[in-house]
């Protein structure tokens, strides 16, 4: 049977949400406006319009891109432009308003954000902000760059990989191949955080996972009958003591995820394999400094995937935490020579497209996104109703397709940006980027090398 090769492609289309994102700029027109309409003539973004009666309308703040020209042009100085206070209050120090806006726009259009002028942010920062990608130039040129003829693969494998294959004298394969699942993008959908039980959101997530051929993690307690048709792309997250209760989920899934507790791992694997011998077992493990022993034991006893997570709040306070955690675990696995025995998925603190390749460079195989897709659906990062407002992510039944399309757009845009990075580096495969620390430059190292004390 011949199978025709098909390039993996994420189909994006415009998906406009009902939940409006506040505009970045706010224009105030003072009362001394004389209706000269100079602003309407100056603005090329249609912020100031003239209505049918020849009067100037209220400014459309959503279109404003902050060029300040209308305020200059007004002969009476009647227009003032400022940052919208509603916009400024959004998010926190990690999920900044600008980051949230970027996610929102990406999920609306599915395009790669392109703009003019240079970089506008801080020199460097903590965590992912203190990393720059290296790229290839004359010394190590790419063949083609991003717009070339060669396909750049973003597929990653979940599960154990063999270091080599064994054959007998008749060239028959002797080694038994472990179960390994290939997903076409290094992004999986983590279980949603901080929201009231919303079955439509879960259906949207499941739909997205099926369409993108990746996985969506869903807590076993939240399962409902509508999710049965998406089972092949769902990962139930089960507590250790509830394995028997949710045994029907283990039977129908390809991967199960177990919340880490101090349990007997051998016994756990036996219990799970009793229901489904071919299932991949993932352990959901919170990062801390003494994690290496646990990772060791888990890997050696035959767990397939470690899903490392950082508390979102923790990562907000100390962004160094995220990068350190991935690097720490990865280098430990390499030192113990067991890196390919296990797949490392990291989640928590993935807030923009560049964090995906950065996590992979630090040593993760794939990343799980959580808050990012919730922001795409309208989350305002209030961390569980801190301000006592209702969670805006209430996906209605008729909006399931829209919500799903928005997440697809977001991931499509992020994949395109991942391709930009891979193209710039001259890599043809995201698997080869894993753990390539040499492909990144670190603020701490460079600062010490140039300005620090070398004596």
């Amino acid at each position: 049977m011949t199978k025709t090769f098909k390039r993996y492609h994420i189909e994006t289309k415009d998906a406009i949400s009902k939940i409006k994102f506040p505009s970045k700029y706010k224009i105030i027109r003072y009362n001394n406006c004389l209706n000269v309409q100079e602003c309407a003539q100056t603005c090329i973004f249609d912020v100031h319009e003239v209505d049918n009666n020849g009067k100037i309308t209220d400014p459309f703040n959503d279109y404003c891109r902050g060029c300040h020209l209308c305020t200059f042009a007004c002969p009476k100085g009647a227009i003032s432009l400022g940052i919208n206070p509603e916009f400024d209050k959004l998010g926190d120090s990690y999920y900044t308003p600008d980051r949230m806006k970027t996610i929102y726009v990406e999920s609306e259009t599915g395009r790669v954000p392109v703009s003019g002028t240079g970089y506008k942010g801080r020199f460097a920062g903590k965590g992912f902000d203190g990393m720059w990608f290296d790229f290839s130039e004359i010394v190590r040129p790419t063949r083609d760059g991003i717009h070339g003829r060669e396909y750049i693969s973003t597929s990653v494998d979940l599960g154990k990989k063999l270091p080599y294959l064994k054959f007998d004298y008749n060239r028959n394969l002797v080694s038994t191949l472990p179960v390994c699942i290939e997903i076409p993008i290094p992004i999986i959908l983590d279980a949603p955080l901080f929201f009231k039980k919303n079955k439509n959101l879960l259906i949207a997530l499941a739909k997205t996972a099926l369409k993108l051929n990746t996985f969506s993690i869903i807590k076993a307690e939240d399962y409902n009958n509508n999710l049965i048709e998406y089972n092949s792309n769902l990962v139930p997250r089960i507590f250790y003591n509830k394995i028997e209760k949710f045994s029907y989920l283990i039977k129908q899934s390809r991967i199960v995820e177990i919340e880490y507790d101090n349990f007997d791992i051998k016994y756990l694997i036996d219990r799970i394999k009793k229901y489904n011998p071919s299932v991949l077992i993932s352990i959901h493990l919170e990062y801390n400094r003494n994690i290496c022993e646990k990772v060791d034991i888990l890997t050696k006893s035959g767990i397939n995937i470690i899903h490392l997570y950082n508390n979102e709040k923790n990562s907000t306070h100390n962004p160094d935490f995220i990068t350190d955690s991935i690097f720490h675990v990865n280098s430990h696995l390499i030192n113990k020579n067991i890196r390919d025995e296990i797949t490392l998925i990291t989640s928590g603190g993935i807030a923009e497209a560049s964090h995906v390749p950065k996590s992979i460079i630090l040593g993760a195989d794939a990343v799980g996104i959580g808050l990012a897709y919730q922001i795409a659906l309208g989350c305002k990062v209030c961390y569980g109703n801190k301000h006592r407002i209702n969670c805006p992510i209430n996906v209605e039944e008729e909006d399931i397709d829209l919500a799903s399309q928005r997440i697809i757009n977001l991931i499509g845009s992020w994949r395109d940006q991942l391709l930009e990075i891979l193209g710039g580096m001259g890599l043809r495969e995201v698997r080869r980027q894993r753990g390539e620390i040499g492909r990144a430059m670190f603020y701490k190292n460079l600062e010490k090398k140039i300005f620090g004390d070398n004596t």
């Binding site: 105030i28 003072y30 009362n31 001394n32 090329i44 973004f45 891109r65 902050g66 060029c67 300040h68 020209l69 305020t71 200059f72 100085g77 003032s80 432009l81 400022g82 940052i83 790669v112 392109v114 703009s115 003019g116 002028t117 240079g118 970089y119 506008k120 942010g121 801080r122 020199f123 460097a124 990393m131 720059w132 990608f133 290296d134 790229f135 290839s136 130039e137 004359i138 010394v139 040129p141 790419t142 083609d144 760059g145 991003i146 717009h147 923009e352 940006q417 930009e420 990075i421 193209g423 710039g424 430059m441 603020y443 460079l446 140039i450 300005f451 620090g452 004390d453 070398n454 004596t455």
Partner: protein, 514 residues
């Protein structure tokens, strides 16, 4: 001792911004319920005594507040507050203008933008704005010259500062090609026709002629209007080869080979379809209204040997030309630099990560390549250890905003700098980042729209850029006087850049000083 003027400096002429109401740093607000309209504030304000301008028509009503528009931005704000103290009913208060806060960003703060506008207008510095550093929290913004820290109240009286030689040589190797000397250690960056308008290019070319420096065509071909200024124009050859032919190479005194651009290294060029109109398409030999991608990299250069042949090809076409190689900053930038030297390049232009662009993916602008503050010392040290530093000119670009940045990068090991964004800010750019699509820049700089492009008058723009560089020249003179150096070449470190306790070559890094 007065030094002989080596070069004629162009004349400074007052050249105001197109509009009258530019952004003010402070604004005065009036509580309408308390105001008795006695008019004392108008009489008190030192800037407006006796002027008819400050009438009650200038008061604006909004949400119960009246606002005074500071028509020519003379208000000293929190430093003065005379009107606030004088008001009998305490109706006045001074605050920072919200519009001032909306302008700018961490790298280019509102103060930097406004100070460049002031310099472009008058050719002089204004004490009111911070003109040296931004607030990005690293690199140039944490570096200071030691004289800046010694006495905090530095006088800005620049009349008594003598003229100091700031010229640099662009050809240090003895290869028989012309020794081009430019009077100030900067020249204009590469901006193509298509990414910026023709009027902008003309303004920059005229200013380059007046200052006897250079400006570059970018990769978008050589418009015939620029031939008049051919002695001051660099021809760029980039990976797209748009509008490049033997004729344009023969016309130039310097040819730059662009391997990568700091804002989007490894990704080639990118001009979105909206801006490719028929004029742009004609000069680039393409079809209008399609997006133009320059591929990455040069497909005839895959090794250092290829690179050598590439440079020699240019040198063969024009025996009088200097070859500059523009590269960005990967980790092995030192290897790239030495490769450029052995390939026969006269100038190596190192473009750091924070450089400007007409259009680039945001992920590339923020995350690829290292900042110029790190790259220049790495290259300088490596070339010194190879013993070839005095045979090649290093020009730094990408993220150099002010005269102080230029001086700092020279103290870190570059010969000079290449200036792009600052020139555009002098023309009225506000860094609103709308260069890439649609009709382009609302200020008429980075646009191909014929109506918008007319906003920039080449004569006016030329004078603004001249004024800015005149002010910068004075700042360099001031810095060199304070440091006790006779020429800007003495600021260039003779040895390797090695910071000891946060100090090196008159520079202090605030994060590492003990």
């Amino acid at each position: 001792m007065k030094q002989k003027l080596l070069f004629q400096t162009p004349e400074i002429k007052y050249c105001s911004y197109r509009y009258q109401n530019i952004i003010t740093k402070y604004e005065v607000i009036i509580d309408r319920s308390r105001c008795t309209e006695c008019g004392l504030c108008v009489q008190t304000c030192p800037k407006y005594i006796g002027t008819a301008r400050f009438d009650y028509e200038a008061f604006q009503k909004h949400e119960g507040y009246l606002r005074i528009i500071n028509l020519n931005s003379q208000c000293k704000g929190l430093l003065c507050q005379k009107c606030v103290n004088k008001c009998p009913t305490k109706a006045l208060s001074v605050r920072i203008n919200p519009q001032y806060l909306a302008l700018g960003d961490y790298r280019w703060t509102s103060d930097l933008i406004l100070s460049i506008w002031k310099q472009a207008e008058t050719g002089k510095l204004s004490n009111r704005y911070e003109y040296k550093i931004g607030s990005s929290g690293g690199g140039f913004d944490r570096l200071r010259f030691d004289f800046e820290l010694k006495n905090k109240r530095v006088s800005n009286n620049q009349n008594d500062i003598e003229y100091i030689d700031t010229s640099i040589s662009l050809n240090k190797s003895n290869d028989g090609r012309p020794r081009i000397i430019i009077p100030i250690p900067v020249y204009g960056a590469d901006m193509s026709f298509g990414s910026v308008s023709l009027n902008t290019m003309l303004a920059r070319a005229k200013a380059a002629q007046a200052w006897n420096i250079f400006t570059s065509t970018g990769e978008g071909g050589y418009p015939s209007e620029l031939i008049k200024y051919k002695n001051h124009i660099i021809t760029q050859i980039a990976t797209g080869h748009f509008g490049v032919n033997a004729e344009t190479i023969k016309r130039a005194k310097i040819v730059v080979l662009k391997y990568a651009q700091g804002a989007k290294p490894g990704l080639g060029g990118h001009l979105l379809a909206d801006k490719v109109n028929s004029d742009v398409a004609k000069i680039r030999d393409v079809v209008p209204n399609i997006s133009l991608f320059s591929p990455f990299p040069f497909h005839n250069v895959y090794s250092v040997e290829d690179h050598y042949r590439h440079v020699q090809l240019i040198k063969d076409i024009n025996p009088e030309v200097l070859v500059s190689v523009k590269v960005s900053t990967p980790t092995d930038i030192d290897m790239v630099a030495i490769g450029c030297y052995y390939a026969g390049a006269n100038i190596i232009q190192i473009d750091g990560a924070f450089g400007g662009t007409g259009a680039a993916p945001d992920i590339a602008k923020n995350n690829i390549a290292m900042p110029i503050e790190y790259a220049i010392p790495i290259v300088h040290n490596y070339l010194i250890s190879e013993g070839v530093r005095d045979k090649i000119t290093i020009m730094a670009s990408g993220g150099i905003r002010t005269a102080y940045d230029v001086a700092k990068i020279i103290a870190l090991g570059a010969d000079g700098a290449v200036i792009g964004t600052s020139e555009l800010i002098a023309l009225g750019c506000k860094r609103c980042a709308n260069c890439e699509r649609g009709r382009g820049c609302p200020s008429g700089i980075a646009t191909t729209d014929p109506i918008l492009a007319n906003y920039i008058d080449p004569e006016w723009g030329c004078q603004r850029i001249i004024n800015m560089y005149s002010s910068w020249k004075k700042q360099w003179d001031y810095i060199l006087t304070k440091l006790g150096l006779g020429s800007i070449k003495e600021l260039l470190p003779k040895n390797k850049v090695e910071f000891k306790k946060g100090r090196f070559n008159h520079l202090i890094h605030l994060d590492h000083v003990r």
